[in-house]
Amino acid sequence: MLTGEERQAAGSSARTVGRRMAVLGTAVGAAVVPAGAAQANIVGVGNAVFGNSCTNHGAAQATGTTVSDSGTASGNHLGLPLDLPRNHCGSSGIVCTAVFMSSV
């Protein structure tokens, strides 16, 4: 398990990368992200684990990556990042989202 300080450091790193991604993403063309730009978008997997708003349980190691070397979307040749934990989310019931959150 990571310490609180390590989590903070990782979260800070993820935010930095996130800002870079946002800038790059705004700069690229509408339809196709050039391979170089896409590679630059690679987020260190694991950093992001600490950057989102939910709590982790279990080890935070990832075996996958979100962008392949060719800049194409991942998941085509790689396996799923099965070491990623499923994060907890809050417990106050339904909140305002734009997505289907059924637990049927």
Binding site: A73, S74, L80, S91, S92, A98
Partner: protein, 416 residues
């Protein structure tokens, strides 16, 4: 995506369309689709997207491993979609957002992938939010106004950006294309909240929900209707919706309704069980997400549980996450002050927060309750002019604003 009407539509198109519409028919159709095409990875993964919240980690993972294996054998887009769904259902929202950037670069305008776009906001990072909004604008431009999933998505985005008139127009266009578009109905509710539509909005929501009582948003849109009832002073209707539609698990929406009623000097609807709220706070999800924790704090405030609020504020202050220590903690402490009859202390805390309040999460409509609390506290300390200035825009732009008028009325007794 399938056209309007539902006739001559394949099972695949119908299932995807109903899922995109947040319809009550989505899950049965997805199950049927998986039953007929068990080796279709995207179908299995979309079923997980819709139902994974109720499954164990192990079952969810097993299903998505199967889906991904099958999707890889199908084509690259399918594999990418399943990969994204894996990340999304594991609530790895930042990774999901990163993945979607690459997915849309390769498959522009992909309506199925649009179902995961909430990941950008769920990250809790303002840069990701902005990037997600820009991505929606680009995909809408590529897909065109005939794509109701994208017009509905842009309507939602505009509403959250505070561009209510544009949101309303886009939602109307979407609903004209496909009347059962759930995201557009939700976006319209948000826009009409900003405009104070009152009974016009509740009539629309009731009519729309009557067409699909199993709709995924049934409870939530009723909560929006309750807010509209508050806006026009129909407090009995707000209480009725909270009591008859929202259940024990809907702590956040019930508390958000009741705290508003109390701030406006009205009788609340049925309360939450305080022990239930305490149990939620100490459970695994209690401090997992800042906005949910805030909602639980509202439940404590409704119960005037000052001691619990102060304990929660201390816990939040000691949290390593900045949004908890820097934003949630003072907000919860302010709620404690209000419940203890110390409005001046609440005013000081909430005034210092200023625009930082956005970091408490949720959406505009949900966060507004903090402004309501500050306005009420200002009035209770005799600072009516400051309270009026705080609510000036709402009172002048919202057609129905009885609720705001009551917040500003000195005669109204303070909440609890």
């Amino acid at each position: 995506m399938a056209g309007v009407g539902g006739t001559d539509v394949s099972l695949e198109d119908a299932a995807v369309r109903e899922l995109a519409a947040l319809s009550g028919r989505a899950v049965p159709l997805l199950r049927e689709w998986v039953g007929e095409c068990p080796r279709l990875g995207v179908a299995r993964a979309l079923l997980m997207l819709a139902t994974g919240g109720g499954l164990s980690d192990e079952v969810l993972r097993e299903e998505l491993v199967v889906a991904h294996r099958d999707a890889q054998e199908a084509d690259a887009r399918s594999a990418s979609l399943v990969y994204g769904i894996f990340l999304y259902t594991h609530r790895q929202f930042r990774l999901t957002a990163d993945h979607l950037v690459t997915h849309f670069a390769r498959w522009p305008g992909d309506e199925v992938a649009s179902l995961m776009l909430d990941a950008f906001h769920a990250c809790g990072d303002v840069d990701y939010r902005a990037h997600g909004d820009a991505l929606v604008e680009r995909q809408y431009a590529l897909a065109g106004a005939d794509s109701w999933p994208w017009t509905g998505r842009l309507a939602w985005t505009r509403a959250e950006q505070g561009r209510a008139e544009e949101a309303l127009e886009l939602a109307g266009h979407t609903l004209a294309r496909f009347p059962r578009a759930g995201l557009a109905a939700h976006a319209r509710a948000h826009a009409e909240h900003e405009l104070g539509a009152g009974p016009g909005s509740t009539r629309f929501l009731d009519r729309w929900l009557a067409g699909d009582p199993q709709a995924a948003q049934f409870k939530h849109l009723n909560w929006h209707a309750a807010l509209q009832s508050l806006a026009c002073g129909d407090f009995a209707d707000a209480r009725r919706r909270a009591d008859e539609v929202l259940g024990r698990a809907d702590v956040g929406m019930r508390s958000a309704t009741n705290w508003r009623l109390l701030l406006a000097g009205q009788e609340p609807a049925g309360r939450c069980d305080l022990d239930h709220v305490r149990g939620l706070l100490t459970g695994p999800g209690g401090m997992a997400e800042v906005f949910h924790t805030f909602n639980l704090a509202l439940a404590l405030a409704v119960e005037s549980a000052t001691g619990d609020l102060e304990a929660l504020a201390r816990r939040a202050a000691g949290d390593t996450r900045p949004d908890y220590s820097e934003v949630l903690a003072p907000v919860v402490q302010a709620l404690a002050h209000v419940t203890a009859g110390r409005p001046r202390a609440a005013v000081d805390l909430l005034t210092r927060l200023g625009g930082q309040i956005d970091r408490i999460g949720g959406v505009r409509v949900e966060r507004e309750i903090v402004q309501d609390t500050l306005a009420r506290a200002l009035v209770d300390t005799g600072e009516h002019a400051r309270a009026a200035a705080l609510l000036h825009e709402r009172v002048t732009t919202r057609r129905h604003h009885t609720y705001e008028d009551l917040l500003l009325a000195p005669a109204v007794s303070p909440a609890r």
